[in-house]
Symmetry: C2
Subunit: 228 residues, 2 copies
Amino acid sequence: MLTQTITRNAAQQPAARVVRSVPTNTVSLGNSIKMMGALMPFGRNAEIYGQSEPADYLYKVVNGAVRTYKVLNDGRRQIGSFYLPGDIFGLEVGGEHTFSAAAVADSKILVIKRSVLVALAGRDKEVARQLWAMAAAELQRAQDHIMLLVKTARERVVGFLLEMAARSPGSSEVDLPMSRQDIADYLGLTIETVSRMVTELESTGAIALATSRRIVLCKRGTLNRMNA
Amino acid sequence: MLTQTITRNAAQQPAARVVRSVPTNTVSLGNSIKMMGALMPFGRNAEIYGQSEPADYLYKVVNGAVRTYKVLNDGRRQIGSFYLPGDIFGLEVGGEHTFSAAAVADSKILVIKRSVLVALAGRDKEVARQLWAMAAAELQRAQDHIMLLVKTARERVVGFLLEMAARSPGSSEVDLPMSRQDIADYLGLTIETVSRMVTELESTGAIALATSRRIVLCKRGTLNRMNA
DNA sequence: CGACCATTTGATATGGATCAAGCGATGTGG
DNA sequence: CCACATCGCTTGATCCATATCAAATGGTCG
């Protein structure tokens, strides 16, 4: 075992906790809610929040990408989810974060005070509905992840690519913001196995690599069939 | 692959959908809500609801045990969760069930109309809070499950036993209502591997088997350490 | 008692991990 | 602007954990 790769130091940006009196700008959260929030930049690998810190803020990815993850006692890292532009993360049901969060690439993140939103939800049915929808999305994500993790390496990689494609604007071409190591830690595989599976898919013509991070899904039927 | 074991027919009890004018009895749901519901018996392996059926009811295990699961195209079965007495299941965020549910052993299940509860939640803050807590528990379960699935076979089995122990009344002795096949399908392992790991744990004295379904956790420290 | 089902045990095969090295791109300092 | 270090990714060789295939054992119910 020992997938290692403990996020090496990094964090050159101020941590999210240090949100103080930043100039508030009105931005849309979810679909219809207009919320006050602070737009913060995070450098690649910068920590946004840590596991078991109080979950006082919600975050919306404006651009870039974010991963949530846990590091086990022995150093193995498991990525819980990736969040792409438009996605909201950091919503916890309990009082504190169950995962840590870090920027996968340089990102701009909208930071919203949780208490504001929760208070609002108490009065506004629509806000409450959206909070529910976020929790729902989170649960769906986790359940889909479970189904991925019991498959073969090939199926996991295919499943991952299809998932990313479904979440991307141009659905036939995927731009992966994360490294092979991130993918490996998400899929419970090693970096070598991920790489080999990608190579294999390419050699069968199921996908094509514009660059190692930019993948074209050629044979959608084949891929969908492999997704079992 | 091919863990197979497609739940063989079974279902000798009327399906839950057929809930009609059953004599309603008042029973406690969660902690404080008193709800109208129908108590229904389900025989071992009887289907309670099927995947992608409308989620019109909530269910509370009164006694026995329930599994939720999905069957993949190729026949592999993945169990999402086990529910023990006191647990509530069947709450979906969307309109329909994302898993199927079946009784692991002969069980009595309290069936509650969802619409009644949701309507009530609109008026009663406490009910709304409890619905939120249920969703939270569900998410927590899924996330814990993800962390289990990336571990070694030994760790998964240990993690499973500790989880079951934590949820059981007498915490040092566990009565497993489910078969080895159920455990295997929950952990993403084969029945043989589960059996071997149990045998191994027994031979090292970490656990003892009263019967194959009744397990005593002897060396809790050792087990916790293996749980990484 | 005998049939059936769940579980265990054994022998072998294999998918993915591990160890190791090579390669290409990116950026940095001289 | 080039030389070189670094980093991310790929490729290769080997090992090992778990799956697979097969059979024995044990418990339960008619």
